[in-house]
């Protein structure tokens, strides 16, 4: 299990190898990278700064991972989130989930992202041509996180 909140970039190849090298029991590795885009809500974005709540961040991420470990049979999880100033194209977040079988790896990886998006204390401030602005939370992210509450059995197959 690895959790990191860092300013530095990450490398999915290195993180995946660290998880799987020397093991022969992993059948499935699902992963996700979220990247900074050059557009959001109709404006060009030239950069963004990610702020977080240091005393809470790793606790919140660990709690989300614990929940995933209770719901699915997972062999390992890596979760890395960057903070600080990022440019379009820069990777922001990496989630890697290893399991014996693919359905569990996919479900847990998507759950971790949905939970992180609504429960981990990060905030994005974008630099646009019109000035700086805090990104507003999306209703679609709440809906995505709620799926795991209302629709547990559908996703767990």
């Amino acid at each position: 299990m690895k959790i990191s909140v860092q300013t530095e970039p990450f490398d999915i190849g290195i993180e995946t190898a660290a998880m799987s090298n020397g093991r022969t029991d992993i059948g499935a590795i699902a992963s996700f990278i979220g990247l900074a885009r050059d557009r959001n809500s109709g404006s060009e974005v030239s950069a963004m700064t990610l702020e977080h709540y240091p005393a809470m961040t790793e606790k919140a991420l660990a709690a989300i991972i614990d929940e995933a470990l209770q719901r699915w049979t997972l062999l390992d999880v890596t979760l890395i989130h960057r903070v600080g100033r990022l440019l379009p194209g820069d990777p922001i977040v990496l989630v890697i989930v290893a399991s014996s079988h693919r359905a569990e790896a996919f479900a847990a990886c998507e759950f971790l992202m949905d939970a992180l998006k609504t429960r981990a204390p990060f905030w994005k401030k974008e630099e646009t041509f019109e000035g700086e602005r805090w990104v507003e939370a999306r209703e679609s992210d709440n809906a995505a996180a709620d799926r795991w509450r209302t629709n547990e059995n559908n996703r767990n197959t």
Binding site: H52, Y53, A55, A60, I92, P121, W123, W134, A137
Partner: protein
């Protein structure tokens, strides 16, 4: 009792305040703290009114407004999160 209150992101900028110490009587809930802060008027009412969307953590755990605040707690008030 006394608690430390932290503000993050847009709320920190709106209040022009990252952190303060707040004294409250008895065994207050998060709702009591919010009422105390709203009583300051102005931006505090604008941002912490019932129709506004914000989150509260007590000792680094997300809570609802009926949660109790222990003495010396660290309370954080912040906008809905936007990481990932």
């Amino acid at each position: 009792m006394n608690c430390r209150v932290l503000y993050f992101a847009r709320l920190r900028e709106r209040f022009d305040l990252a952190e303060e110490s707040v004294e409250l009587a008895g065994t207050p809930s998060v709702a009591d703290l919010l009422a105390h802060l709203q009583a300051r008027g102005g931006v505090w009412v604008e941002e912490l009114g019932a129709t506004k969307s914000f989150r509260v953590a007590v000792n680094q755990q997300l809570v609802k407004t009926d949660a109790h605040i222990p003495d010396h707690a660290e309370v954080a008030i912040f906008p809905p999160v936007t990481g990932g």
